[in-house]
Protein backbone atom coordinates (compact mmCIF):
# COMPACT_ATOMS: atom_id res chain seq x y z
CA UNK A 1 0.00 0.00 0.00
CA UNK A 2 2.77 2.39 0.98
CA UNK A 3 4.82 1.49 -2.10
CA UNK A 4 1.74 2.07 -4.24
CA UNK A 5 1.33 5.52 -2.70
CA UNK A 6 5.00 6.25 -3.30
CA UNK A 7 4.67 5.13 -6.92
CA UNK A 8 1.63 7.37 -7.47
CA UNK A 9 3.48 10.30 -5.90
CA UNK A 10 6.56 9.77 -8.05
CA UNK A 11 4.52 9.44 -11.24
CA UNK A 12 2.57 12.63 -10.47
CA UNK A 13 5.78 14.46 -9.61
CA UNK A 14 7.46 13.31 -12.79
CA UNK A 15 4.49 14.42 -14.89
CA UNK A 16 4.48 17.83 -13.23
CA UNK A 17 8.23 18.22 -13.67
CA UNK A 18 7.80 17.34 -17.34
CA UNK A 19 5.11 20.02 -17.51
CA UNK A 20 7.39 22.72 -16.11
CA UNK A 21 9.33 22.65 -19.39
CA UNK A 22 6.61 24.81 -20.94
CA UNK A 23 6.44 27.34 -18.11
CA UNK A 24 7.93 30.79 -18.35
CA UNK A 25 11.28 31.39 -16.67
CA UNK A 26 11.19 32.73 -13.14
CA UNK A 27 10.91 36.52 -12.91
CA UNK A 28 10.16 37.06 -16.60
CA UNK A 29 8.10 40.30 -16.93
CA UNK A 30 6.76 39.16 -20.31
CA UNK A 31 5.40 35.81 -19.13
CA UNK A 32 1.70 35.13 -19.91
CA UNK A 33 0.40 35.74 -16.35
CA UNK A 34 2.09 39.15 -16.32
CA UNK A 35 0.83 40.33 -19.70
CA UNK A 36 -2.97 40.22 -19.48
CA UNK A 37 -5.38 41.75 -16.98
CA UNK A 38 -2.71 42.59 -14.39
CA UNK A 39 -1.31 45.31 -16.66
CA UNK A 40 -4.67 47.06 -16.45
CA UNK A 41 -4.70 46.66 -12.67
CA UNK A 42 -1.22 48.13 -12.22
CA UNK A 43 -1.81 51.05 -14.58
CA UNK A 44 -5.43 51.93 -13.82
CA UNK A 45 -6.23 50.74 -10.28
CA UNK A 46 -5.10 53.94 -8.56
CA UNK A 47 -6.95 56.13 -11.07
CA UNK A 48 -10.13 54.11 -10.76
CA UNK A 49 -10.23 53.54 -7.00
CA UNK A 50 -7.78 56.01 -5.35
CA UNK A 51 -6.23 53.12 -3.39
CA UNK A 52 -2.40 52.98 -3.65
CA UNK A 53 -2.25 49.36 -2.45
CA UNK A 54 -3.24 47.50 -5.62
CA UNK A 55 -3.81 44.25 -3.75
CA UNK A 56 -6.46 45.91 -1.59
CA UNK A 57 -7.99 47.61 -4.62
CA UNK A 58 -8.32 44.34 -6.52
CA UNK A 59 -9.48 42.46 -3.43
CA UNK A 60 -12.14 44.97 -2.41
CA UNK A 61 -13.31 46.39 -5.70
CA UNK A 62 -12.53 44.45 -8.86
CA UNK A 63 -12.92 41.11 -7.10
CA UNK A 64 -15.39 42.21 -4.44
CA UNK A 65 -17.76 39.37 -5.26
CA UNK A 66 -14.96 36.87 -4.68
CA UNK A 67 -14.09 38.47 -1.34
CA UNK A 68 -17.73 38.52 -0.26
CA UNK A 69 -18.04 34.78 -0.69
CA UNK A 70 -14.64 34.33 0.94
CA UNK A 71 -16.13 35.91 4.04
CA UNK A 72 -19.17 33.66 3.64
CA UNK A 73 -16.83 30.64 3.47
CA UNK A 74 -15.07 31.52 6.71
CA UNK A 75 -18.41 32.33 8.36
CA UNK A 76 -19.78 28.94 7.31
CA UNK A 77 -16.61 27.27 8.62
CA UNK A 78 -17.13 28.90 12.01
CA UNK A 79 -20.75 27.82 12.09
CA UNK A 80 -19.77 24.28 11.03
CA UNK A 81 -17.17 23.99 13.80
CA UNK A 82 -19.79 25.23 16.26
CA UNK A 83 -22.31 22.71 14.99
CA UNK A 84 -19.84 19.82 15.07
CA UNK A 85 -18.26 20.41 18.46
CA UNK A 86 -20.45 22.49 20.76
CA UNK A 87 -22.52 20.62 23.32
CA UNK A 88 -25.59 21.67 25.21
CA UNK A 89 -25.25 22.54 28.89
CA UNK A 90 -26.48 19.13 30.11
CA UNK A 91 -24.22 16.99 27.93
Amino acid sequence: MKSLALLATLVTGALLLYGTADFAAWGDPQSPPNRNISVHYVEQAVKETHVPNIVTAVLGDYRGYDTMFELVVIYSAGMAVMGILRRREDQ
Binding site: T49, G60, M82
Partner: protein, 171 residues
Protein backbone atom coordinates in the same frame (compact mmCIF):
# COMPACT_ATOMS: atom_id res chain seq x y z
CA UNK B 1 -21.34 21.38 32.24
CA UNK B 2 -20.27 24.97 32.86
CA UNK B 3 -18.01 25.96 35.71
CA UNK B 4 -17.67 29.38 37.26
CA UNK B 5 -14.77 31.69 36.62
CA UNK B 6 -13.44 31.20 40.16
CA UNK B 7 -13.50 27.42 39.82
CA UNK B 8 -11.74 27.67 36.49
CA UNK B 9 -9.04 29.89 37.94
CA UNK B 10 -8.51 27.43 40.79
CA UNK B 11 -8.16 24.66 38.25
CA UNK B 12 -5.21 26.31 36.49
CA UNK B 13 -2.14 24.60 37.99
CA UNK B 14 -0.40 27.76 39.00
CA UNK B 15 -0.66 31.46 38.37
CA UNK B 16 2.40 32.72 36.63
CA UNK B 17 2.81 36.39 37.46
CA UNK B 18 5.25 37.02 34.59
CA UNK B 19 2.92 35.45 32.04
CA UNK B 20 -0.19 37.22 33.30
CA UNK B 21 1.45 40.63 33.57
CA UNK B 22 3.04 40.33 30.14
CA UNK B 23 -0.21 39.32 28.51
CA UNK B 24 -2.16 42.05 30.30
CA UNK B 25 0.32 44.62 29.01
CA UNK B 26 0.56 43.22 25.50
CA UNK B 27 -3.09 42.60 24.61
CA UNK B 28 -4.07 46.29 24.18
CA UNK B 29 -1.06 46.93 21.95
CA UNK B 30 -1.79 43.86 19.84
CA UNK B 31 -5.34 45.09 19.40
CA UNK B 32 -4.15 48.56 18.48
CA UNK B 33 -1.84 47.01 15.90
CA UNK B 34 -4.70 44.92 14.53
CA UNK B 35 -6.84 48.04 14.14
CA UNK B 36 -3.92 49.78 12.43
CA UNK B 37 -3.53 46.91 9.98
CA UNK B 38 -7.23 47.07 9.07
CA UNK B 39 -7.48 50.86 8.83
CA UNK B 40 -4.15 51.38 7.06
CA UNK B 41 -4.79 48.61 4.53
CA UNK B 42 -5.13 51.16 1.72
CA UNK B 43 -1.58 52.44 2.10
CA UNK B 44 0.45 49.51 3.45
CA UNK B 45 0.27 45.72 3.42
CA UNK B 46 -2.80 44.73 5.36
CA UNK B 47 -6.55 44.68 5.22
CA UNK B 48 -9.55 43.06 6.79
CA UNK B 49 -8.36 39.47 6.86
CA UNK B 50 -4.92 40.14 8.27
CA UNK B 51 -6.09 42.67 10.85
CA UNK B 52 -9.01 40.46 11.85
CA UNK B 53 -6.67 37.55 12.51
CA UNK B 54 -4.39 39.77 14.64
CA UNK B 55 -7.38 41.00 16.67
CA UNK B 56 -8.57 37.43 17.10
CA UNK B 57 -5.09 36.35 18.18
CA UNK B 58 -5.11 38.95 20.95
CA UNK B 59 -8.21 37.41 22.52
CA UNK B 60 -6.82 33.90 21.98
CA UNK B 61 -3.63 34.95 23.80
CA UNK B 62 -5.78 36.28 26.63
CA UNK B 63 -7.61 32.96 26.78
CA UNK B 64 -4.34 31.02 26.83
CA UNK B 65 -2.94 33.01 29.75
CA UNK B 66 -6.02 33.55 31.93
CA UNK B 67 -8.19 30.60 30.97
CA UNK B 68 -11.13 30.35 28.64
CA UNK B 69 -13.89 31.57 31.03
CA UNK B 70 -11.90 34.73 31.74
CA UNK B 71 -11.74 35.44 28.01
CA UNK B 72 -15.50 34.95 27.87
CA UNK B 73 -15.95 37.61 30.51
CA UNK B 74 -13.78 39.83 28.35
CA UNK B 75 -15.79 39.07 25.22
CA UNK B 76 -19.07 37.31 25.83
CA UNK B 77 -20.39 34.49 23.69
CA UNK B 78 -23.41 36.54 22.65
CA UNK B 79 -21.27 39.47 21.50
CA UNK B 80 -19.07 37.03 19.62
CA UNK B 81 -21.94 35.57 17.58
CA UNK B 82 -23.57 38.97 17.13
CA UNK B 83 -20.41 40.58 15.76
CA UNK B 84 -19.63 37.63 13.49
CA UNK B 85 -23.06 38.02 11.95
CA UNK B 86 -22.72 41.80 11.84
CA UNK B 87 -19.42 41.48 9.97
CA UNK B 88 -20.94 39.29 7.28
CA UNK B 89 -24.01 41.54 7.12
CA UNK B 90 -21.94 44.73 6.71
CA UNK B 91 -20.32 43.30 3.59
CA UNK B 92 -23.46 41.89 2.00
CA UNK B 93 -25.48 44.88 3.19
CA UNK B 94 -23.19 47.37 1.44
CA UNK B 95 -23.25 45.20 -1.67
CA UNK B 96 -27.05 45.15 -1.73
CA UNK B 97 -27.22 48.86 -0.85
CA UNK B 98 -25.16 49.66 -3.94
CA UNK B 99 -27.63 47.69 -6.05
CA UNK B 100 -30.63 49.37 -4.40
CA UNK B 101 -29.19 52.85 -5.02
CA UNK B 102 -29.12 52.20 -8.74
CA UNK B 103 -25.57 50.98 -9.30
CA UNK B 104 -24.27 47.52 -9.93
CA UNK B 105 -23.96 44.96 -7.13
CA UNK B 106 -20.80 45.94 -5.15
CA UNK B 107 -20.23 49.06 -7.28
CA UNK B 108 -19.36 51.45 -4.46
CA UNK B 109 -19.58 54.56 -6.61
CA UNK B 110 -23.39 54.20 -6.44
CA UNK B 111 -23.15 55.22 -2.76
CA UNK B 112 -22.64 58.78 -3.97
CA UNK B 113 -26.40 59.22 -3.51
CA UNK B 114 -25.93 58.94 0.27
CA UNK B 115 -23.07 61.41 0.60
CA UNK B 116 -22.27 63.47 -2.50
CA UNK B 117 -18.50 63.30 -2.80
CA UNK B 118 -16.38 62.22 -5.73
CA UNK B 119 -17.60 58.78 -6.94
CA UNK B 120 -14.03 57.53 -7.22
CA UNK B 121 -13.37 58.52 -3.61
CA UNK B 122 -16.48 56.56 -2.73
CA UNK B 123 -14.90 53.47 -4.22
CA UNK B 124 -11.98 53.93 -1.83
CA UNK B 125 -14.28 54.49 1.15
CA UNK B 126 -16.48 51.57 0.10
CA UNK B 127 -13.46 49.27 0.19
CA UNK B 128 -12.71 50.56 3.70
CA UNK B 129 -16.27 49.87 4.94
CA UNK B 130 -16.14 46.38 3.49
CA UNK B 131 -12.76 45.72 5.11
CA UNK B 132 -14.18 46.65 8.51
CA UNK B 133 -16.92 44.06 8.01
CA UNK B 134 -14.34 41.46 6.96
CA UNK B 135 -12.19 42.26 10.00
CA UNK B 136 -15.09 41.87 12.43
CA UNK B 137 -16.21 38.61 10.89
CA UNK B 138 -12.75 37.03 10.73
CA UNK B 139 -11.85 38.09 14.29
CA UNK B 140 -14.99 36.62 15.81
CA UNK B 141 -14.92 33.40 13.80
CA UNK B 142 -11.27 32.80 14.77
CA UNK B 143 -12.10 33.27 18.46
CA UNK B 144 -15.15 31.04 18.17
CA UNK B 145 -13.19 28.25 16.47
CA UNK B 146 -10.52 28.46 19.19
CA UNK B 147 -13.10 28.32 21.99
CA UNK B 148 -14.84 25.30 20.53
CA UNK B 149 -11.66 23.42 19.74
CA UNK B 150 -9.76 24.12 22.95
CA UNK B 151 -12.59 23.01 25.24
CA UNK B 152 -14.09 20.19 23.13
CA UNK B 153 -17.30 22.18 22.83
CA UNK B 154 -17.86 22.71 26.55
CA UNK B 155 -16.66 26.33 26.53
CA UNK B 156 -15.11 25.83 29.95
CA UNK B 157 -11.50 25.45 30.98
CA UNK B 158 -10.85 22.53 28.67
CA UNK B 159 -8.20 20.96 30.88
CA UNK B 160 -10.23 17.81 31.53
CA UNK B 161 -10.56 15.04 28.97
CA UNK B 162 -14.32 14.82 28.78
CA UNK B 163 -14.00 13.00 25.50
CA UNK B 164 -12.06 10.09 27.05
CA UNK B 165 -14.84 9.19 29.50
CA UNK B 166 -17.42 9.40 26.71
CA UNK B 167 -15.30 7.16 24.54
CA UNK B 168 -15.30 4.49 27.24
CA UNK B 169 -19.08 4.56 27.28
CA UNK B 170 -19.32 4.08 23.53
CA UNK B 171 -16.86 1.21 23.27
Amino acid sequence: MRISVQEARDRIPHHDIILETTVRLMVPFIQLYGLYVIVHGHYSPGGGFQGGVILGASVILFALAFGLPASQEYLSEGTNILMANAGALIFTGIAVLCALLGGMFLDYSALVKILPIDPISWRSHGIFLVEVGVGMGVMMIMISIYWDMASAGHLDEGLHMASASQTDKVL
